[in-house]
Amino acid sequence: MSLALDLALCALILGVALATVAGSGLFRAIVFFIVYGLLVAVGWVRLGAIDVALAEAAIGAGLTGVLLLAAHGRLRRLGTARDASHGAHLLSALAGAALAAALAWAWFVLPLPERPGPELAAAMPRAGVENPVTAVLLNFRAWDTLLESIVLLAALIGLWMLTRERDWSGRLGLPQHSRAGGVLASFGRVLPPVGLLIGVWLVWAGADRHGGAFQGGTVLAAVGLVAAMAGLVRPPRIGARLWHVALMIGPAVFVLAGLAGAILAGEFLTLPPPIAKPAILTIEIALTASIAATLAFLVLGPPEEGRAP
């Protein structure tokens, strides 16, 4: 029964992915990709990876979808959203099929791992949190997460560097035009309180249950985006100092905690068990603020106040 469910789900995923790649039209491809993200999130639930499912639904389907739709809007203003049809590319199809076949072959010859994570299970009592995924992200493999938060910042700086000189002092993203008192404005008033609650809950619960800084931060970023689209808040300008603090605080606290670990435990980014839980929570809260701000700015895009040239 459950195998039938998996088969049906995977058939749906593949069908939607095929429609994304081979269907006609840019807009249709984007919409199919959003549906694809949601279906893959269900797939992650089936694999038992709830934290990944949350991240995939919030980031893979949600934020990426908004990002692509906004890009479609920008390209349409420039008159460049029309897709040229690509006929059947025999060589590309062969290359894709060969790659898929090679991966499938790899699956069957891959040696079974020894029972995963005996080290992890032994280390969990020292982690300070009960969600093993959070423990890996913020304690055992904290290097990855620290560098990732810096990669996010680098991407944002790269994106901002694409701003035209005359737009530089403008507000981030395209000018929004929702009618005051209209449907979107009302929707934007109802949703943020609920979203804030869910976002903060995801971070708080992420220590011991499912969730975490990335999922919670994404929800908070989405709240900000909805509020901006509804015209309730105006996006900041690139030069806004307060927001620079928000962008930097996560990596900064992370590095400070790492240095504290170096002093207390003798190794950078090592959290001694007695202070592990408060340290992880502090890092998570700071990181959530930075992730939320960075992701929201990444999706808003560089400022673009003028009309299309």
């Binding site: 449907v183 979107l184 929707f187 109802v190 949703l191 609920v194």
Partner: protein, 94 residues
């Protein structure tokens, strides 16, 4: 008893989803399609949420299902309005 009710309710929900999807594919223009999609699917989701709620172990789970349904309802309603207005503006422009 609860199991039977769950089966009946989710089946009813599925029926409405199928009806909504048929409407989405068969109806001629954006407005009638939106009508089929939002009305039938919200009802279908409500039936399914109700059916699952009968299987819930705690009241907190029931409350969460209710919250999900309410949020989906709100989002679907607001988005239907926005899509309809865009379609209307585009029609006027043509």
């Amino acid at each position: 008893m609860a199991d039977l009710a769950t089966i009946a309710l989710t089946a009813a929900g599925l029926f409405f989803f199928v009806a909504g999807t048929v409407g989405l594919i068969r109806f001629p223009d954006t407005f009638t399609r939106l009508h089929a999609l939002t009305k039938a699917d919200n009802l279908g989701l409500g039936f399914i949420a109700l059916g699952i709620a009968l299987q819930a172990e705690t009241w907190a789970q029931v409350a969460r299902l209710g919250l999900i349904w309410a949020l989906a309802l709100l989002a679907a309603g607001a988005m239907a309005q926005l899509v309809a207005r865009t379609a209307l503006e585009r029609e006027d422009a043509e």
